[in-house]
Symmetry: C2
Subunit: 409 residues, 2 copies
């Protein structure tokens, strides 16, 4: 019998308890022994609930119990989660977490700590909800060198963009629906809609793929607030969908580029058809070519089932997992991992006439004009050039309101 | 330094050598030690080639060398591969193979043998080429009970069906192109075009998902020979693609259904957009919902890189992998795992008028008529009923030429 503890009894934490109980037989077979939740750490009052006996509000209870071999962290954030996870790893206990903020910020340190103390630090559920991405990446692609990752990793914004495209609605209305359905936070949805959530996930995947810590603050990150219903319609006319794309690339010389931004995705690209709350991550291996992992990006039980799979893995394999699931510590860079390669760009401006925007952008075509708003598809430009265009527009009394790079087909 | 042997130096076997050498640094890091090929077993003459020194033509050389810990089997078929693999496992050596015929036929026995002798028997490359499917299924979905698998698992026929749809060509012409490009066997392409290859793969995935051996002879298997350019066109009019679908399902009471057959796939289904030589497998977990694994289904280096990932896994984890990667032996069933559920069916007949076919099929609509050929979309029927329709047609001097079940959207 393996005894575990759950820290944080919110949506995912309570899902972990439910999955462990509902699929007890299958889990026991795969773990080689039954798995039981002995403690749940949560500061809130759960007395009077069916599992009241399991609750504790001091982490020392867990740290002082030698029976506990694996701890699940589903508190979220870093304020409590980070010191608690550190303490668990330092005591030689393995940790399975769904906490992307903690992994994106302290991943290298926690992995090293796990290795040092003979424990496992696992976080499959931090990217893609329940969809297996991290394990296939480090294990099945073990014979590959990965040079590129490109994905839709935030279900909330993907749901909103799908709504906007299908029902011709604006950002505000789509956000309201996402909030009503519980896909977006009601208080402050900015982590999702401004791209920070996607940024943390691409940092985790990139750190794993390229072997050293990639920090969120080095990744240029844009959300979807500036996208109008008109842009979505214009994209469709260009045979594209607008998707929030998280991507990174490593050149042969080791130079990293990474970004999170809404982009034009041609319908011929696999990612264009990924709709609603689904996530998809494309990984390019040098031997394997493209592989895509696709599944629902969120939800209580999917995410919880990924955490439980990690618990099983930790029980069976411990620190040995970190021969392949590992990346080196690295200091944050000074600047941003900007991608300087050329592509087609959709730019939308206000306050200048179409010929002016066309002259600044070079070869391309006007996509639409409406009042003093002009959308233009520039055939071949780059991030730095588009920045220059923005400055020139300001000087002419205009303003660049949206920039969408076009992905390859 | 881990020493391994390769049995069978064809396309995949030579790819394994190439992957091990090209990505030596990454492989060494993940395996925890360098990996070197010490022997290559092949009866053909490779003297005069750069690696002539590695070749042996007697398996005893490998079995008698205690340095060899893992053996790669890329001979294919079962005549030599099966006894050689048995001998390796019985000697406590782990085996990594790409041989789907052997796994579909002897999987349960070889898994038990591996477990008994403390070795690993791994076959990620037997399904999906290099695309990770088997490892994510048994490991990442460890906390799920799997009830359904549905996929496109044969790249050759998927390439042909894509050609037929895009370029309005018939089966014979598409086959010729597939043969010219090396996607289909020139001598005898029947394993691919008649569905046996897909059948073996769905047997492997189903055995793993449902926990006991599923035999190819119990799976009703149809290929794509009867599909005309007219059918592909008619499918498009119905907003569907025709795909060779391998699927299986387990009811709550444990009843298995399984099949390989060309089907109508609505464009709204993820599998409809999987084109060319790509494979995609959708797995339904009870906690997780749908997950899709997508990637190129074949190719020397992709397949070889999956074999090498298994070699690394075998070196690191040995027989412990079989806590989760395992299924029980079971005798073949007497009949077929027929799916008796209802769906819409596209049926094409010869020799009777449209009203006759319509009367036999019940509610639905005529899709096209051409000479004495009629295609009809029956709204709601099942395999058994369609068989009855075929018999009645024969009695009326007609003939049922093609039956395509429609998948859900």
């Amino acid at each position: 019998m393996a005894k575990i503890a759950i820290m944080g009894f919110g949506t995912v934490g309570s899902g972990v308890l439910e999955v462990i109980r509902r699929n007890a037989a299958a889990i026991s077979r795969r773990a080689g022994e039954p798995v039981e939740v002995k403690y749940i750490l949560d500061v809130r009052d759960f007395s009077g609930t069916p599992d009241a006996d399991l609750f504790v509000n001091n982490i020392d209870v867990i740290l002082n119990d030698p029976e506990i071999k694996v701890v699940v962290e589903t508190i979220g954030g870093t304020r409590f989660a980070y010191p608690y996870v550190k303490a668990c790893l330092e005591s030689g206990r393995s940790v399975a977490t769904s906490n992307k903020e903690m992994v994106a910020t302290y991943g290298a340190e926690l992995l090293a700590l796990a290795k040092e103390h003979g424990a496992a630090f696992l976080f499959e559920a931090s990217v893609g909800g329940g969809t297996p991405i991290i394990t296939p990446m480090h294990q099945c692609l073990a014979a590959n060198v990965i040079s590129e990752i490109e994905g839709i990793v935030n279900g909330t914004t993907n749901f909103m963009l799908t709504k906007m495209a299908r029902e011709n609605m604006g950002f505000a209305e789509a956000l309201k629906i996402a909030q009503q359905l519980g896909y977006a936070e009601t208080k402050d949805p900015s982590d999702d809609v401004d791209g920070q959530d996607a940024c943390r996930k691409i940092c985790i995947l990139s750190s794993l793929a390229y072997g050293h810590h990639i920090y969120p603050q080095n990744v240029p990150t844009h959300g979807i607030r500036d996208i109008l219903a008109e842009d979505v319609k214009a994209a469709a006319q260009l045979d594209c969908a607008i998707k929030l794309i998280a991507r990174s690339h490593r050149d042969e010389d080791g130079t990293i580029s990474a970004s999170v931004a809404p982009m034009l995705v041609p319908m011929s690209n696999q990612l264009a058809g990924v709709d609603d709350v689904f996530n998809a991550v494309l990984v390019k291996g040098d031997m394997l070519g493209d592989v895509v992992f696709y599944g629902k990006g969120a939800g209580k039980l999917p995410t919880a089932s990924a955490v439980v799979a990690d618990v099983i893995d930790a029980l069976k394999n411990g620190a040995k997992i970190h021969d392949s699931l590992f990346w080196r510590a690295a200091a944050p860079e000074d600047g941003l991992f900007t991608d300087n390669s050329h592509a087609a760009y959709y730019v939308r401006s206000k306050g200048v006439a179409a010929p002016v925007l066309a002259a600044l952008c070079g070869e391309g075509k006007v996509v639409f004009e409406q009042d003093d708003m002009v959308a233009y598809l520039a055939d071949d430009t780059c991030d730095a050039a588009v920045e220059g265009i923005g400055r020139k527009l300001e000087a002419l009394g205009g303003h660049l309101e949206l920039v969408l790079r076009r992905l390859e087909g």
